[in-house]
Amino acid sequence: MLKKEIKDTFREFFVILSLIVVIILLATIKNFDFYLIPLLELILLLYPTFSGWSIFSRERKEGGFEHLFSLPIGKLSILLNKLIPRLAAILIVLGIYFPIREFFASFFFFERSVFVLLYILLFILSFSFSLLFTSGAIVFVSVIIIGAILAFVIKMLGLFSYNFLFFFISIPILTFPMVFIYSFLKDDILPLQFFNKKYLTRSIFVFFVVLLGLSIIVKVSGFNENTYYLLSDDGKIIISNSKKTMIVDSENNKKIFSIKKRIFPIIVKEKFLYGGMESKDGAKLVSIDLKKGKIKILYKVEKYYRFVAPHVDEEKLTFLVKRGGENKFILLIKKDKMEKINCPKKFINEDVLLFKLISNSPLTFVYTKQSYKTYLYKEGRIKYLFKGDCQFYKDKIGLCDSKSFKVFQNMEDSNPVFVEEGKCRILSRWFEWPYERRYIIIKAKTGNYIFDFETLSLSEIKLKIKKNEFVGTGNFGDKLIIAVWNNNSGKIKVLTFSKGEFFSEKIYSSSFKGRRYIFISKKGMMVVRWMKKYEFIKF
């Protein structure tokens, strides 16, 4: 039986493989990648749908059910014989998808994790509906429509945040196939309409019971609550969730500021916290004085707008204001004076991760997309600079990919002033907003280095990072602090460097174990566990 199923699977596998090859060839040769790669993505998503649905398509089309169930094979064996080859085939196709994605990264519509989740979800759901629908296309459309309706309902009910959509998606992933397997093993399959009626009623019931149960658990336990933490250089702890925003002085553990609203902390600059305050009539950009605890509304936008990708430099704060997926305008804050610049048309649809304004007249800026490709915008023209992780510092930008680390002095210039060849990557920094940081830690093939943007020099540091260790960095003027914490022991090794030279080393210990985030200030470190609890460790 397995041989027959492998044969059937191979037929489908061969078709999808041929389609992938044809599309890739056309995309490479004819330069149609802009249109063809999203098409390939759609075809790749259709494949698990059809593969899952086709598990019983032959029996359904050719009327083989009565024969199948009279064979000396148990129902579980039938299911496994059919499932295993198809599962292997879809995993192989998924394996093929990764290098293709790597090559055509910027043309893909879905993020990698979203794509993988959708891919598996479609297989599982279409497999679960394989006895219900007569056509694979109906399964695909139904899954998309049901998913969209449920996502809308969930969003309207406010049950889950965006992050928890993944959690929510796991409910149908778990319930539908489980109920299908249970029904398949327990019930008689013929006549199909009776089986389907029973299975559908049962699965919808289980789905809503699980959804309700998990929703209650999530709400009661507070798992769904996204709490944001931030630590200012001088040790002020900022905590924000949907119910309130609080600022606590780490020195004496006293509350400096508290408001019963969520203020999404964006950036701390010169003793001020800048954040987006949510309210019914629209978001407000506010500043909070970290010493006095006073709040000031700086800018008010209409509903559905939000502030993202800020940039800080000596003179001005810059915020990119978005609505939906579109960039709407750039807001410049210059000593309480604000300037609003409408986004140029070419820039409206760009998915910006990092943003740095160089000049507002003529409008010139550098931005990094979600795909980690960095571009320069100048007078209506967009120029591709580099692909990799990046860090801005004054008029310089450090760009790092797996092959090299480059620094551009003048961002309009395409000739780097510093190049380090070899396998490089910027060591993990918790906070990804583009602060003006003098030092950057680079992990290269030959060792770990500190790069100084002021002196354009690279100095090696003796730092070994094991698999179970994480790194946090603090960057204060000419001082750099590197904290390496061990997951197992909870011990944190803190290394201080001054002007790139080793200065001191000290061991601290935290009561938290397991994966955590670490924030560093001049006064101490804050470790946060699962974004729920925090602990401040004084230096």
Binding site: K4, R58, G63, E66, S70, L71, P72, D188
Partner: protein, 275 residues
Amino acid sequence: MIEIRNLSFEFEKRKILKSINFNIEKGECILIAGKNGAGKTTLLRCLSGVYNKHGGEILLDGKSIGPKDRDKIGYLPSSLSLYDKMKIGEAIEFHKRVYSNFSLIDILTYKLEENRKIEELSKGEKVLFYLILTLSHDPSYFFIDDVLHFLDPYLREIFLNILIEKMEEKKLSIIMSSQTFSEIEGLPTQIIILDRGEIVLNENIETIKKTYVKITAKEIPDNLPVVYKTDWDSFEEAYVYPYSENFSGDFKVEFLRLSDIIKSIIGGNYAKKRD
């Protein structure tokens, strides 16, 4: 031996089979008859494993039937459900891998063309091919669901001859449902008649042939166990069961053929009495 104990089955709370009990010994052939919707196909589907969710027990040599026991069972459904797009050769290969004791039997009068697709076969050829496939795994029990009407008289004869041969040679036990009775008269050893999911008659063929009679008289005596009676202008006609030679009176007794017995039972008062 297969023992069927209190077998019941329902769809959507509608009872299709109600407490069915009977046994089948080696070398026996049971004919299941009944009007449309009586539960014949459901009964055979329960026995062959297509339906598992039934009440009661089906025992093979004293043990409850499991998937592996179906190695000893052959099933020829009236839907003739095989993979239609498969070639004959592929279907043979498929059965070779599925059954532990598969060895293709040869029927001299029917030549298998391995490259032909099953969907290209006529209904009659399909029945014969299915029969070859099923008997090739050497089953001890064979369940046949009303396929005779697909066959022309020539193929029907081949079909029945193969069954008789296997019954004699291998002591094959057969349970078959059919609506065509005249040509199979010599095959069944026992008859079961179903009506609305219940057994209304379970009798040895020889016994029923001797005890189920048609009586014609001016007036049918009241003491006879009449199954079905028709009043004509000058005389009365009645089907009597069980008839005994001890019954006396002024009437004419006619022994019937199996097909006439079944027809009269299905249509007659015997079934209606049990409503």
